[in-house]
């Protein structure tokens, strides 16, 4: 059941702005959003537009949205200053699993690093005051979680959250850039096979292996193909054009299941992703017409 009154926008002032790269900023709001990693909010700039943004940070007292400057709404947002207000509704959608006794291989492309950075912090219990709601038991420092965090970008200057993720305990950072200016030269997905092999080879205690991915769809599709080939589990955040964000308009329904990516997604299991014939092939624009990748 939807908490109906929560879908009216809450008008919040921006409390901090961090320049992440030339085209990416994180906007912080002092508000207890009670979100989970993988979920999104709708952000409204009155008179202009309202769009979904994945949540990149949530300490319990403060949340952050990492935003790529790509259109009129984000352009307006990039011109805003601390104290300027925007309308927020949410959080909405499904989240990545937070499980103890698990080795995560996180695969982030571009600003997909934001929700995965939030997930890595959640798994490292960075914000104990949030009162973590883990799927299986509560996560403490001895939760037996390790993380290979793989992040890819065009070049060194466009890599996100290198510093933020590097300082987390139990996280090993792996970089990939198209031009080789940092880390592996090539796609981030080139790293998967070796990381999976290395983990499975050196595994000292029984731990589940889980891939999670967020980023460009064709990158995510490669992660799914890899997990299918190797019979490994994964969770994928699938982005579709959203209008309402609250499960009514049907704009983000995916073929052939007809499930809504704002409600039954954006994070889906491998089993669900494998049933989505449109995944990696096409999505729909704001009229509902198919756009092939």
């Amino acid at each position: 059941m939807t908490l109906a009154n929560m879908d009216q926008p809450i008008f919040l002032p921006i409390t901090k702005i961090v320049n992440e790269t030339e085209q990416v900023k994180t906007f912080y709001f002092n508000f207890s959003l009670k979100s989970k990693p993988g979920q999104f909010v709708m952000l409204w700039v009155p008179g202009l537009d309202q769009k979904p943004f994945s949540i990149g940070y949530d300490s319990g007292a403060q949340f952050g949205l990492t935003i790529f400057n790509r259109g009129p709404l984000t352009k307006a947002l990039f011109e805003m200053k601390i104290g300027d207000r925007v309308g927020i509704t949410g959080p909405y959608g499904t989240a990545f699993s937070v499980k103890p006794n698990t080795h995560y291989i996180m695969v982030a492309g571009g600003y997909g690093a934001a929700p995965l950075g939030f997930l890595a912090e959640e798994l490292s219990n960075c914000h104990p005051e949030r009162g973590l709601a883990a799927d299986e038991g509560s996560l403490a420092h001895d939760n037996n979680v390790t993380i290979d965090f793989c992040v890819g970008a065009r070049d060194k200057d466009n890599l996100l959250f290198e510093e933020r993720v590097k300082k987390l305990p139990n996280v090993t950072l792996h970089l990939a850039t198209d031009d080789g200016s940092a880390g592996h030269k090539g796609y981030v997905t080139d790293l998967l096979s070796e990381l999976a092999d290395s983990y499975l080879r050196n595994q000292t205690m029984p731990k589940k292996l889980l891939f999670v991915t967020c980023g460009p769809e064709l990158m995510e599709f490669k992660v799914l193909e890899f997990c299918n080939l190797r019979n490994l589990e994964c969770e994928i955040s699938i982005e579709r054009f959203m209008k309402c964000g609250i499960g009514i308009c049907g704009q983000c329904c995916v073929d052939p299941l007809g499930i809504r990516m704002c409600m039954e997604g954006p994070v889906v299991s491998k089993a669900v992703a494998n049933q989505l014939t449109e995944f990696g092939k096409y999505h729909r624009d704001k009229s509902g017409a198919k756009i092939y990748y």
Partner: protein, 301 residues
């Protein structure tokens, strides 16, 4: 118990997905059927694709749901492909839906949607983009409704349903005019015009400023429209507007509706609301010793 015959077509239950909700693709409509709807109405199609209004296009509260999507749709050509696909994966009754700016355009888009295997065609004459060539918006104009009904009937091979606006003070006369002009059924009602203002933003929440109100706030208004229209026409009525519970649905049938349109109830009860509502209808019917819906249709008169 809930089986309903509407214009010679059998529906497993009388709840049909209302136009504009969840209904962009064959897959989403099939999902609604799997969640217990007796039939579906596709989101209205136009001759050419439309992207609709910028967001916010909708907002929900405990009491009402407001939307001004701007009739976004991929156009009738792409829409026909989705409707064909729907019928290959689902046997449930399918109601097509179109809107247009002029009577001739209504005829043109109606003719084209009939290339799809739709069972009925609903004509949205209560949309915001109305032609004023008759001096009044279509929704309030008897001559406009007559002309659109006749032109659409002349080019279609399926029963035609006219969807009317609760903003029409003369909705009963409009319904009678549609019946006289050859309409096979009436859908009553579309959303009622309204607005929501964010006091901190100091402006309307919807980008389009005004929108259509549905949800619980619309229900008593829709119920009265259906009650009044039932007394005035012989053709069947799809009662739509704020029906969110099984009890609401039974009240609509007692007012005279044959089918029940269900839309924003999904906001209040999730996509599984169809099943929740039919369960409740059956429970109340058992308690009250009601054997079939035919037995109580119009019973409140």
């Amino acid at each position: 118990m809930l089986t309903t015959t509407f214009l010679n077509k059998s529906f497993e239950n009388p709840l049909v997905l209302a136009s504009g909700i969840m209904g962009v693709t064959a897959a989403s409509m099939k999902n609604v059927i799997e969640n217990g709807a007796g039939g579906v109405t596709v989101k209205s199609l136009s001759l050419t694709p439309r992207t609709g209004h910028p967001n916010p296009t909708q907002m929900g509260t405990t009491n009402y749901y407001i939307n001004a999507v701007g009739l976004s749709n991929p156009g009738v050509e792409a829409g026909v492909e989705e409707l064909k696909l729907f019928k290959t994966v689902c046997e449930a009754p399918l109601i097509g839906s179109v809107f247009a700016g002029t009577p001739d355009e209504f005829a043109a888009v109606s003719e084209r949607i009939c290339a799809a295997p739709i069972d009925f065609l609903e004509i949205d004459v209560s949309c915001p983009n109305v032609s004023r060539e008759f001096g009044d918006p279509f929704a309030y104009s008897i001559p406009a409704i007559e002309m659109i009904t006749k032109k659409v009937k002349a080019v279609t091979n399926v029963p035609v349903i006219m969807k009317l606006s609760p903003n029409a003070w003369n909705i009963v006369d409009i319904a009678k005019a549609a019946e006289t002009a050859g309409a096979d059924a009436i859908t009553a009602v579309n959303t009622v015009s309204g607005m929501a203002i964010d006091v901190r933003a100091r402006r309307p929440i919807l980008h389009n400023k005004q929108g259509g109100i549905s949800g619980p706030a619309l229900f008593p208004i829709a119920l009265k429209c259906v009650y009044d229209i039932f007394q005035a026409v012989k053709i069947p009525i799809i009662g739509t507007g704020g029906v969110t519970t099984g009890e609401d649905a039974l009240a609509m049938i007692m007012a005279g509706a044959t089918l029940i349109g269900v839309g924003s109830a999904i906001y209040y009860g999730g996509v599984e609301v169809f099943k929740t509502m039919t369960d409740e209808m059956e429970r109340i019917m058992k308690e009250e010793g009601i054997k079939s819906l035919d037995e109580i249709r119009g019973a409140a008169h």
